[in-house]
Homo-oligomer: 357 residues x 2
């Protein structure tokens, strides 16, 4: 066996010039969407795959192709457990999650690919229900699933069913929408109550110890985004606060745009049932995952017009203004509490609810 073989087969070799993340092994927190995921991306993925498009750090990659088109490309793997939960399932989630990431660049999602990793022994009926649900969600979102792949691993080497979806959309050339576009004075809008998805999955896991009425908000948000763009409001940032919740999403934006974001706690909608469950479990709804909520940062001039546009849409009826972008506290998210004090909201550290999406 020559030296080359040794290198690749023994999983050893020269130390990489790029410093490793400080943990020696992957832990669940690396998949949280919060601080540890951020560190992994910053220290491992970005230095290796470095390019200006990846560095934009948004939910989708903006691609310029030819004279007339700008594309948005985004990928997400879905490992949610259980596969079925009130208000959705892994199939609906896999379609909506990626449709939304593409839409968050102000693009119109057109095409999806679907990659399945199946565990040997998965019931065909379960797979069929998931596929059926993907079909329905794709129809609702108006996207076509144009390419796919299926892999099967031995029993015990996966957890029933994982789905990767990658989405491709087009956007108007020259549209400047992205996490780095927030400006002091902008209004922060939110399309509905926080935490429904996270709490619905906890409920489906039977981990609540009590019964609550909550369904996942999993939904395609491209209709909301279209309405917002057509409203004439100047849209700066669009994000769907999934893993890590609104707190983590807004922290990312604050860092990308180097601005402060000041939230008004009293204005942030949370269903009473979700709030009560959060209090019982010690969760903060600001960190719970949402799969059908839009956070939009728009220029103050058009903020009311934007709100009206959102409220006219099926998934935006409960849209509200929750805060504003400020010049001070650059890179931080601040919460004005109901009691009138102001506290810093950090991004999610560690992992609150593994495998939420």
């Amino acid at each position: 066996m020559d030296a080359e073989h040794k290198r690749v087969t023994l999983e050893e070799g020269p130390v990489c010039p790029i410093p490793l993340p400080h943990q020696e092994r992957i832990v669940l927190g690396h998949g949280s969407g919060g601080k540890m995921t951020h560190d992994l991306v910053e220290r491992l993925f970005l230095p290796h795959f470095d390019n200006p498009i990846l560095r934009t750090g948004d939910d989708a990659a903006p691609l310029e192709l030819g004279e007339e088109l700008e594309l948005a490309l985004s990928t997400d793997s879905h490992v949610v457990t259980p596969l079925f939960f009130p208000g959705g399932d892994i199939g609906r989630l896999a379609v909506c999650g990626t449709v939304n990431d593409v839409a968050m660049l102000g693009a119109k999602p057109l095409y999806l690919t679907a990659g399945f990793i199946l565990e040997e022994g998965l019931e065909m009926r379960t797979l069929e229900r998931v596929i059926h649900s993907m079909m329905e969600a794709a129809q609702e979102a108006g996207v076509a699933i144009v390419a796919g792949d299926t892999k099967v691993v031995e029993r015990g080497k996966a957890d029933r069913l994982f789905i990767n979806t990658t989405g491709l959309g087009v956007r108007r050339k020259g549209l400047k929408i992205g996490g780095a576009q927030a400006r002091p004075g902008d209004a922060v809008l939110l399309s509905g109550p926080l935490g429904d998805h996270g709490m619905a999955v906890v409920r489906a896991r039977g981990e609540l110890g009590f019964e609550i009425e909550v369904e996942s908000d999993t939904a395609p948000l491209n209709g909301l985004v279209e309405a917002l763009l057509e409203s004439g409001a100047e849209v700066h940032v669009l994000r769907d606060p999934t893993r890590g919740g609104l707190a983590t999403t807004l922290n990312e934006i604050a860092a990308q745009s180097q601005v402060g974001i000041l939230l008004d706690e009293a204005a942030i909608p949370v269903r009473p049932a979700v709030q009560a469950a959060c209090e019982a479990l010690g969760f903060d709804p600001l960190y719970l995952a949402n799969e059908g909520r839009l956070a939009a940062i728009v220029a103050e001039e058009g903020a009311e017009r934007a709100l009206r546009a959102l409220r006219g849409q099926r998934y935006g009826e409960a849209s509200v203004r929750i805060g504003r972008v400020v010049e001070n506290h650059a890179g931080r998210v601040m919460l004005k509490t109901r009691l009138g004090s102001t506290r810093v909201i950090e991004r999610l550290a560690g992992e609150m609810l593994p495998r939420i999406c």
Copy 2:
């Protein structure tokens, strides 16, 4: 709990109007790339996700966008075990596999997305080596990794590391390359010996019981495809014979084009070491996976020019002509054996080597 909840949480519900595949559970053969995968796609995925693009059934989806551009989009999840093998690793495989699928539509691969599913406890050093290898392969292929996603599942819920890659490329408008384009009289070309990848993975698994010198052929084939297109030869079909091997790939083409394909056994290159190992293990190299081989079907007029163009490329030096497309035996692949008889070559049934890619 209302009816809607029951429907989604109990994994039950109205029977889908589309008949289910006849197996009740997923077995390894559904991921073989052979007959069972074909059946699953035909009976479950295609009826649900039905659209003309998906129905083309090629390695990548051809997308028309705007006036000037045609795109190719393709996705593959990678679950190969072990992660490292002679001649490559899951990272190189994940980049090359998708680059090649995009190139097989005659497109120039430009962008990749990467979705990682990590098992809790994976050594950071292993992940880092894989990422490093992806970076090198992407540089070699000339593609940028522009979007990514990382999920972590609990220990025992995945097998260390799965990678999905999705690739996007551009192709000249109006280029007619696809599995349905083979015509009687065309020449069938192959860019190098068969089975190196499959046998290298078997070797890395320590399942051989003897030692052989073989390395995976994992390589980006977009350079080969470019050379072929520039040669002036009329290119009808391009395919990389991965899972299911050359036999399965050519069967797919024969079915898509409704032609026969007649192979000359004596012309099909197989390394002596691979041939010997196949004989010892009862494998047929026609069904072994390749990850850096190109099968091209070109009009006879330009076949010699095409061969010269392939041979001028790093990964095409050993290119040869292995057969031709014929009018009779439509939908079938026939092999003229060294002894002068002719036999039918079916697509792979069941699963020969699970998790080869």
